[in-house]
Amino acid sequence: MVEVKNLTKIYGKHRALDNISFSIAPGEIIGFLGPNGAGKTTTMNIMTGFIAATSGEVTIDGLDTVAEPERVKASIGYLPDTPPVYGDMRVVEYLNFVADIKKVKAGRKEMLQDIMRQLSIDDIPKRLIKNLSRGYRQRVGLAQAMVGQPKLIIMDEPTIGLDPKQIIEMRDVVKNLGKKHTVILSSHIMQEVSAVCDRVIIINRGKIVATGTPESLSKGLQQGSIKVRIKGDPAAINTALAAYPIISGITPEPSPEEGVTDLILSGNEGTDIREAIFNCMSNNNLPILLMKSTEMSLEEIFLSFTSSPDGQLRGGVSEASAYDSRPDAVGSVTGLRQQDLGQNPISKEEA
């Protein structure tokens, strides 16, 4: 369905996309994951023909996007990160305009009705778009992408700015779309993607870092480390932990209260250290106030990725099975946790 070969995009001196290639089978729901500025939007803009690549090619359904732009564009529905809606149009007016520019003729009325029903915007056909809430506007934007039943629907951050209920609705919509269309969506939220996507492509700094199913990737993301909050001073805790060699990694965290210590503890690969932690602390009369396993979110990985240059990070536990490319990058993922998580604003919020 989609074939991307050696795509490179250079803005001035900045290499936004660096020789990326992937292919997508018909009917797949693909998630693009990556931090802001990773190249997600650039890739999507090139696939939709909004911008041109510096080199490389994209074929959609066997058609080259540069050689036959009009035919390719007719088979794509695109929801950019900002819904491309005209504030001064009414919802129905707008969708009719989109049908006009997409040259949809037969059965237009039924099709628009059907789309509006699917996205539950059929109750607001006469509202001016500028008066709609962000969530509704997003849905009108998605309705626009569905006009003309394109084979491929591309969505850039479709759930950004939506409230939790709307996010869940949007997920259902995307799942439904996947039954009839090939869908590509981008996100920087792992749960988002794992909930709906058949396959995930992780990009960072213009390169594909990993691809795989959400299951295989999230397995790689669970590090088996435990976050604990213990009542007691750090020195006592360290002495206590010294007696338990099974707990090999100790990383202090900023503690939220007086007299309380936060730590991230990890064991060697494949070992469960929870019991050891309990025994250690109870033997030393150090009450455990909190104990939870840390799952590394993609935000954390990518924050660390973008804050330290590649290759300077200590390689850690081998997690390579989940990543089918770039072992150097994988090493970074696991190694950096120990260094950087302490300064990570997101992990502080967990407390």
Binding site: T48, F50, K73, P80, Y86, D88, D100, I101
Partner: protein, 287 residues
């Protein structure tokens, strides 16, 4: 193209811009009709239209300021340029919408000479010529306005720049006469033009070799012409500036002469700017 055209026409009247344009236009027509035609007992309508062209620097931005700038601001350009329409269709749709509104305003004014007609003889050929010139100058300046609106995503900036550009074209004839006619000045001017072309080439192709070759060829051609016949260069600045002065040819039409050269000039001027607009959009994709 018709989809874009219809949308723009509708936008003119949902955004008040259409009404504003028609109001200003008809107000001006009314003022000049009462001062020039009624006040002076003069059946020649051409002064009315000529006076309105001096206000094109206000009228045209009203028509063109938001055409592309607003699409860029609202990010709806992503919708248009990822739709199966070609860039040229989009540009033409917008240009034609602006021109049609201008045409509507112009057609309404036809009532006035018809009114005068019942009181005496009308200089028909002059008036028809004036209307043709009026529409052609309108098309040319709208094309300039469309081109400027694609350069920015701020309609105010687009409006001010269009005002400036049209005002400059209006005074261009006077400015041109102030320019030196000496051979040296002309040579320098042509040299700068050649460098400019080479710079644009380099900017769009990023190929320094092609740019240098073009610059050298241009310089060679200029030098050759200089040594062969010096006369070719005299007054070249004036001629170039006069080409840009779209208002200068109004008088031929006002005398009732429909010169094919003038008509072709206006149409090619408008076509050039429509083409440049499409080109800027295309080029932006590759940047």
């Amino acid at each position: 193209m018709t989809a874009i055209y219809k949308k723009e026409m509708r936008t003119y009247f949902t955004h008040m811009m259409g009404y504003v344009f028609l109001a200003i236009m008809l107000l001006l027509v009314g003022i000049f009709f009462s001062t020039e035609t009624i006040g002076r007992h003069n059946p020649n309508f051409h002064m009315v239209l000529f006076n309105i062209t001096t206000f094109f620097f206000v009228l045209v931005p009203v028509l063109t300021m938001r055409l592309f700038s607003e699409e860029a601001r609202q990010k709806t350009d992503q919708l248009l340029f990822t739709s199966p329409l070609s860039v040229m269709q989009i540009v033409l749709g917008k240009f034609l919408a602006a021109f049609s509104l201008f045409l509507v305003g112009t057609v309404v004014t036809v009532v006035l000479p018809l009114m005068v007609r019942s009181y005496g003889e009308l200089p028909v050929s002059q008036i028809v010529g004036t209307y043709v010139a009026f529409l052609l100058i309108g098309a040319a300046s709208i094309a300039v306005g469309v081109f400027i609106s694609v350069l920015t995503d701020n309609q105010i900036i687009a409006a001010i720049a269009t005002m400036g550009a049209i005002f400059l074209m209006f005074i261009m004839e006077t400015v041109a006469l102030l320019m030196p006619v000496t051979t040296v000045a002309s040579l320098i001017f042509v040299g700068v033009l050649v460098l400019g072309v080479a710079a644009v080439l380099y900017n769009s192709t990023r190929n320094i070799i092609v740019a240098v070759i073009v610059a050298l060829l241009g310089a060679g051609a200029v030098a050759g012409l200089y040594f062969l016949g010096v006369l070719a260069f005299d007054g070249v600045i004036i001629r170039v500036l006069q080409w840009l002065s779209i208002f200068a040819r109004f008088n031929n039409f006002a005398l009732g002469m429909l010169n094919i050269g003038d008509i072709v000039y206006y149409i090619s001027f408008a076509a050039l700017f429509v083409y440049l607009t499409a080109n800027v959009i295309e080029k932006r994709r590759w940047r």
